[in-house]
Subunit: 321 residues, 4 copies
């Protein structure tokens, strides 16, 4: 089983200490209601070897190198274990010579976002909806003091812990399997990321409040979500599915999103990037048995989803508390 006690020890005398008032009891509760496969996935993490590590690069990639090259047999065993944690969505990871080629080239997004951020050096960071944690490691690579990711999906926790193990068990990043709505308002993070979450929320204004409650005064919000074209009053609410997803609620225009953020009390709100998701950024690989973007688009017109909505376009908005 994944052990959260080292995390408790890390935060006990930090700005996050008050989290001990709720987190250990929530996770004890969580442990009793995990996904049926969780025990199997957690065991896979145990099966992975501790490898002597020569070098770790989190600045330009998420990459570890062994002291001595792995034998082909060793590589095959590790690949075998990692593939049992499929689908791998956010990546890519290069771990001791193994290339985990995930559905998303999350490094593309990072390269677009990073230049606009307040420098992450020495910051306490929360990554809401962190998935397998790719960006968390890149934040560590930028010198963050500590990165906490939250994501309730048990598989992502196990992927994260697998990667951590192959990154020489680095403890500067930690994944907590909760949703933001379950988190007590800590109000201490220097930077809060919410990337790819807002359009899955039934109540976008409540999500923005929850993000604000985690930031310290003056802290920076990095919000990335699906957007549509249109004026301040334009919001797409898909009737049933959007790109085959059932749980998509509000896809606002950029001016609309900026308005929501200002209404929520954020200041200095600005859009720093808008990009139609390309078939190079999100695609099928051997690390994914499911469908990917190409299957979600109208085969005759890639500017539309299969339901006829505008194809996914994503904006990055920064704001301060």
């Amino acid at each position: 089983m994944i052990d959260f006690r080292p995390f408790y020890q890390q935060i006990a005398v930090s700005e996050l200490s008050s989290w001990l008032e709720t987190l250990p009891s929530q996770l004890a509760q969580w442990q009793k209601q995990t996904h049926g496969e969780y025990a199997k996935w957690a065991k896979i993490v145990d099966f992975l070897p501790h490898l002597e590590t020569a070098r770790i690069d989190l600045k330009t990639a998420v990459k570890s190198e062994p002291v001595s090259p792995l034998s082909q047999g060793e590589q095959q065993r590790i690949i075998y274990h990692l593939k049992q944690l499929m689908p791998w969505r956010k990546g890519p990871y290069h771990l001791h010579g193994i290339h985990v080629d995930c559905e998303w080239r999350s490094d593309f997004k990072w390269d677009r976002v990073l230049p606009h951020l307040a420098p992450l050096q020495d910051r306490l960071i929360l990554d809401v909806g962190c998935g397998s944690g790719y960006h968390m490691w890149r934040m560590v690579g930028e010198g963050a003091k500590m990165v906490v990711g939250i994501d309730p999906t048990e598989l992502f926790l196990c992927q994260f812990e697998a990667v951590r193990k192959l990154l020489n068990n680095d403890r500067r990043a930690n994944l907590i399997p909760l949703g933001i709505e379950e988190m007590q308002p800590l109000g201490v993070f220097d930077t809060v990321f919410s990337m790819g979450v807002l359009y899955h929320r039934k109540s976008p204004l409540d999500h923005l409040s929850q993000l604000k409650n985690q930031l310290r005064k003056g802290g920076e919000l990095v919000l990335e979500t699906l957007v549509t074209d249109g004026d301040e009053h334009h919001v797409l609410v898909p009737a049933e599915r959007y790109a085959k997803m059932k749980n998509v609620y509000f896809i606002p225009s950029v001016p609309c999103l900026i308005n929501w953020l200002e209404k929520s009390g954020f200041s200095n709100v600005r859009c720093v990037d808008v990009e139609v998701t390309s078939l190079e950024e999100q695609r099928k690989t051997e690390w994914l048995e499911n469908e990917s973007l190409i299957d979600f688009l109208d085969p005759n017109d890639h500017s539309k989803t299969i339901e006829g909505y505008p194809a996914p376009k994503r904006a990055v908005i920064l704001a301060n508390k």
Copy 2:
């Protein structure tokens, strides 16, 4: 103090009996945290006399008539008490010869809505955000089996109880001082009204779910809220205030609202009325010390609010669970 025990007795062996699992403890808790003026307001209800009643009309108005006409002194005393419960927003009430001329001609709205409804005869009805309860009495007038209104504002509870006392203590309508989000999902009401509430909710989709959770399968929702012109994707979210109100969040177009209702799982969704609120329907009277609609509009252009948004326009939407 207002006594909820007769209501508990009424529901104990009705379809609402399971509400006893949460309601009495919630109201005991509520009693400890009421508005500072609540005790004073509740005492005013006690001060009102029990009047012998010759006739009650709830079918064409909310009106009671005494067995013998009140003396001028009696009338003055009752008016004095009732005015301590100002502002009176929803009305009008005609009680033993006293005309409580409220800010709203709620009878106008009722006349627009009623013809479209499934007949209320023998129905169990919930009125969410019921205010002082004007429409609740009209529902009783249509033969409803029982009407439950919910509204967390203590003043409205006391207005309601004052009116009830002057309606010969009729117990077919009851006001419970809770918000819908505090109510356990009962799933038994034949008709649920939500009039003038949705635009005050930070999360309109959650509000629609909560309404649905109170309806029985096949029951009817009556939703009245502010709307704007525009297509299915058009939603006005006022930056700061709308018509001087701070707590206004989403003002959708009618097609947008219909889309939201369908997305929330309602069927047979249709708009039965759209009306710009007139200065005859919402206006200042002697029963109201506050401002009214005229003060919320641009003095030079009544088609706009003082902030420059489109003036209040309201739609009535019906739907079934």
Copy 3:
């Protein structure tokens, strides 16, 4: 299933109304965790016929008489059903010509206790550990306003409801399947009985406090429990079992018990009856498949239990709050 809603309706406007703040939610919770056989037992109550009743005697017995005598077949069917609710411990019941000959002649105890009590006429009574409710009916027979029995054993609830049905569905007595430690302190009962409970409590002083919390100021406690001979400092705490029972804790002398009651804040404490339980009062019958008193005593010396402790002797103590 047993329906507690008529009880909620009965108490809603009585001195017990505040119990609605906890009782319905506790019983809804209880319903989810009942004994595996409970559904079967409750169905037996449903199977019993409603019989037209000519006469009920609760003053000298617990007895109902039919308008016209039951056929032998009818009798046999009822006996068949009632025997599925064995063992029947407290009785006897005479129901439409059927003699439910229980293990205990509880009428013996009643005859010893009743003469000493403040008259039960018009009193609100709590019977803690009421079993199948024999004494509750006798209290009703004495004119009690209402009798509430509590006992967490599901079988006793079903026995009680079976008897109630054959007593023309009398609703002046009600059994609530809770332990006293789960009851909110109501402080309104005129008389509280605790018979045969104290020696089963790990903490007798807490039990006395709980009983006091249910009484109104000035109300009467009727405490019946096992006692030993000895001075004020004498308490028997059986090492393992007492009369084959594992859950026996404190068996004090009468002076010791009086001291405990005074220490707990009761006044006017006095012992009104002490009696060695006879083999006539507790014995095997055809309504009981288990062992009875004779099996719990030393076969060679009936003054001792099979473990060598003094044989059961019971005292009745009265006290006032």
Copy 4:
């Protein structure tokens, strides 16, 4: 304010880690309801200087020695602060040349108890009702791995923290301001002490269960409490006060106490010490403004309390889970 976060950090990766599921939230709650003087007392701890320490002796006393002797002014300041934390009950402490001469010579008791105990070296220890913590330091002196004391009295917490500061801020002992009944059952302590607590409990059997719930299988209980002479069935329950104390409940004989422990599931139960408390062991000093033992005894007959009960006699019982 006293900071419990270093304790959380200490236990996060120890056998006590699961305590984080309840302790931080309980202490956050506790902080909001502390004694009115607590803030003042906690500030006194802050006022005390950090003194460079040459030597600490916890093996034969509780004693610290400074690197260089304190000036008389320094000593007077420290004494002034410590006296604001009066009354000092358990001691004595010798701190940088200051002799805190407490009411109790707790070292007497320690000398009687220690020889009988399983060696404390490397053990995890719980001291229930630890007072200012004198014995906790002596346990540390015996090589305990960690000592946790619990006592809900805020003054004792501050005394303990004051002593800790003058013991070079030793963190092998920690005082948690809770009662044992509030503690989750940890089941991990090697030794559990309960000295001077049992006779204050309304339910001694529940206290014994709670102690057992904290021990690991095979762990050792050290129980010290008031006893009387008499056989296995002899228990003194003072009617009102005992030695002027109102909250004294059960004072059993030694055989009675042994029976209770066996009934509670302890094995290997034996009494290792019985001693009438002497006027040398408990007496008035200048560190105590209140009365002491001499005032609680019959002035004409020191074998009796002022109420006429046998004078305090204390037994030490050992047992294993």
